[in-house]
Amino acid sequence: MTLALEVVDLVKHFGPVRAVDGVSLTVAPGEVLGLVGESGSGKSTLGRCVVRLLPVSAGTVRVNGRDIAGLSRRRLRPLRRDFNIVFQDPASSLNPRMTVGDIIREPLRLHRIGTATTRRRRVDELLDQVGLQTDVGRRYPHELSGGQRQRVSLARALSAGPTLLVADEPTSALDVSVQAAVLNLIGRLQADLGFACLFVTHDLAAVEFLAQRVAVMYLGVLVEIAARSNLFSAPRHPYTQALLSAAPIPDPLLQRRRRRVVLTGEIPSPVNPPSGCRFHPRCPVAVPECARTVPPLRPVGPARELVACHLVHDDGSGPRLA
């Protein structure tokens, strides 16, 4: 089985800022991998590197087995049929001077797929799939609401039939009720069309709804990858535990009864990450070893899930913070 996405030791530096510092992950065909992290984690940078919107400093990115990290832009272009991305901000992700129909049609035109007639039909088909009426195709972005614009973005990204979609915070700029609609839509499209999805977000609830596996990033590196239910019911890495603990649950009885993990300090600058385990200065259970050596991302437990922590044992057991 060829993986939809295989990232090996990806590194992306912006000068002194080490935004992504050695990340490896995989996404199987038809799978949704959630990638969560806070600001400075490098998750958005990773997402953009995966679709080669940013040149990669080092490492490999294989989409359907083809390494796209080292390709020239000319050779890369035809391969772009196979992967695409939707962005966070509905206000700036659509060209204000193009009609919705033209926007959706763009990948078909650029990759010379079909004829004028078949393209028009495909646009109508896509509009229908994302829950918009066909006359929306004649409208301009400013006439649409945020939720509608995100639907158009999805239609555009999926029009050439990619096998991999990167979704970079697709719902973060939307109202709660609209978020629900868009999340539902992504779930439905993913089930119907079968594309693999790298779902980048800081919203844990959205990830829990949509993803099968979840990867957690902190300051440019991965700290944990696990199956969704395992990650949420029994997080292993101290940062994952703190993250889950900090996200408030919309249920006052539960929320006020919870015991919370309180982290000290703030996220350090990616220019000068801490030595050893990057999380150690804020970790409530750090030991001297944590400052000395970098913990490798290694498989633990019966399900062979990945954690990067010195205090987690091979059988999967480890510190429980709260």
Partner: protein, 297 residues
């Protein structure tokens, strides 16, 4: 705007109904009395210039020594000059020359400046090269440039157009480069790249169409400067030369005769002021109307 007003404005912007952007701009423009005034003046001036052949009561070089140096009257609304030529006709044809120079010089500056600005904003390696070029152009005072060109090409309407056009190029480059840099960072450009667009497609379909608004504003700033520029150059003998009509030439020939016929200088001068002011007001109004923020009340 204060933070507070911004908060309220954002909430209001979310409620704005879906009127076409162009219609909204027109509406805002028309609601501004100064802009409307400017627009009216410009329309009259351009109309007169285009229709000079038809509207002008006399030919611009038609002499009538019997009617020389006459103040404004029924048969000569703007009076006559020392050769008996009808001033109104000369003003109309002079306006035509001014409009021609304004349009052609702006077109020239755009034709040269827009590609350079796009390249500078898009390609980091090209940027410093273009900046040096812009600095070089800016280091020549306008008149020195014009004198130099007149020496090479001989004074004419073309010389004036080229001189003014070149003088405008740095501004066009600056505006285009600025817009390119801004637009480059927007998500829809990244989406185009992800869709498989080449640089050419990105610049043509995504960046340039969205930079047009700023260029329109630039044109409305450049046009009045061009009109004044042409008048100055012709006045100094570096542009249009008599007997060809030009407001600047009229001013030059009216200068020694000011005591005999002040209308010969005042009227062309007023026309220059009126057209320039009109263009400026229209430009200001357009800039405000194109601004996505709510108009202050």
């Amino acid at each position: 705007m204060s933070t507070v007003e911004l908060v309220a404005a954002d909430e209001l912007a979310a409620t704005r109904p879906a009127i076409g952007a162009r219609r909204r701009v027109m509406r805002r423009l028309l609601r501004n009395p100064l802009a409307v005034g400017g627009l009216a003046v410009v329309v009259v001036a351009v109309g007169a210039a285009l229709l000079a052949d038809v509207v002008s009561p006399y030919a611009y070089d038609q002499t009538d020594f019997g009617a020389a140096l006459q103040p404004p009257s029924g048969s000569h609304w703007f009076g006559t000059d020392e050769l008996g030529r009808d001033q109104l006709s000369r003003v109309l044809f002079g306006l035509r020359a001014s409009v021609l120079v304004a349009v052609m010089s702006v077109a020239l500056s755009m034709a040269v400046g827009v590609p350079l600005g796009l390249a500078a904003g898009f390609y980091g390696l090209v940027d410093p090269v273009v900046s040096r070029l812009t600095d070089t152009l800016l280091s020549f005072p306008f008149l020195v440039l014009a004198v130099g060109l007149a020496a090479i090409l001989g004074p004419s309407l073309t010389t004036a157009t080229v001189a003014i056009g070149i003088a405008q190029v740095p501004a066009v480059i600056r505006v285009t480069r600025g817009e390119t840099l801004r637009l480059r960072g927007l998500d829809f450009v990244a989406a185009a790249v992800a869709d498989g667009a080449t640089d050419g497609v990105v610049l043509r379909r995504h960046i340039f169409p969205n930079a047009v608004n700023a260029l329109i504003v630039q044109a409305t700033v450049a046009a009045p400067a061009a009109i004044i520029g042409e008048s100055v150059l012709s006045f100094l003998g570096l542009g249009i030369r008599p007997p060809d009509p030009s407001l600047g030439v009229m001013l030059a020939s009216a200068q020694p005769l000011f005591r005999d016929g002040p209308w010969m200088a005042v009227i062309p001068g007023l026309v220059i002021v009126a057209v320039t002011l009109g263009l400026n007001l229209l430009g200001d109004g357009l800039r405000d109307a194109l601004d996505p923020r709510e108009a202050p009340r």
